[in-house]
Subunit: 198 residues, 2 copies
């Protein structure tokens, strides 16, 4: 389906984003059935995942270096995606601990899992952008490369990117091992991220 | 000074807005020295002032009717500005009550005051857009009219708009009367909104 900004115009699409971002905080403050201290920690966690050191910060790096991909190295590319995609994924996992309970050990474990699948999501995205089916993707194959974006594929090549993806997948699954059956839904999520074709 | 989007580009200016919106919630959750219940009410209040029924909603109406100013009547214009500017002004006043204390009567009073100065701010803005000093405004005189925006001036004319502004100013000051000296800072704010020339 065509994106929001194509159907409603850019100004309205931006406002929809501002409205939904604000609505997320309203839901936490008004609809979560938990004690006040927990709710405040959820608000705080979401601001850190979404804000200038998280998703917004990652997106800013992305824009700053667009068309300057010769100035991006592997470390910067990982930082970018850790913030742009990874921070919100990890933030969601940590919110789950906040609500469902769990100690420091589980927190570290899920943070590690989130970092791995967040990065895996982006590596898979970059591979799909080069090798995917245009009809399934809903965008032109190679569009990131043409926009002058540095991708994992442009940095490492397809084969090496696939190895990187497989390694991240392995780390993600291994991190969940001690959780036994309770970890199955998250394992399925990791599997989906690595095998998706759109 | 030139606006954000001229200096840094539109994408970065939008991100700055998303980052600052998120940062406002972080400040409430992490930096306000108050009990957890109060902080949650502040978060909730800010989402209602800023979100789709407040500022974002007002801005959306503004965009929807841009270039269609023949479809805007006085009631819609007031709704637009009550949301776009008024909701955040009133929200700030109510946050003050939340933190500083005050009962239902004060809440209603400050809400009434906020509604009046929020609307006054916009009426003054529309008058300035037609009669102001281009150098002080930092934008071309008549730019709203040329953008096809319905303004109070285009709806009522300059003279009637000035009368409307004076009436809102009177209501705002009168609403503060029972507060005595404690109301002086807010009175000064109302005076500034009505007399500003930029």
């Amino acid at each position: 389906r065509p994106t929001n900004h194509r159907v409603y115009g850019e100004a309205m699409a931006i406002l929809a984003g501002d409205g939904l971002l604000t609505e997320a905080f309203r839901l936490l403050a008004e609809e979560v059935d938990s004690d006040a201290g927990t709710i405040i920690r959820l608000v705080s966690g979401l601001t850190r995942a979404a804000g200038s050191r998280g998703m917004v910060g990652g997106q800013a790096i992305d824009i700053l270096y667009q068309g300057n991909d010769d100035k991006v190295d592997a470390a910067l590319l990982e930082t970018l995606h850790r913030r742009k995609t990874g921070a919100m994924i990890t933030g969601a996992l940590l919110a789950g601990i906040e609500l469902g309970g769990g100690g420091e050990e589980l927190r570290h474990r899920l943070k590690r899992f989130g970092d791995a699948i967040g990065l895996a999501f982006q590596v898979a995205d970059d591979i799909l952008d080069e090798t995917g089916d245009q009809n399934k993707l809903g965008k032109d194959v190679g569009s990131d490369r043409e926009a002058g974006k540095l991708t994992f594929v442009s940095l490492y090549g397809i084969d090496q990117s696939r190895k990187h993806l497989a390694e991240l997948h392995r780390v993600a699954r291994q991190t969940l091992e001690p959780l036994g059956e309770r970890g199955e839904p998250l394992k399925a999520l990791a599997d989906y991220i690595v095998t998706r074709d759109r």
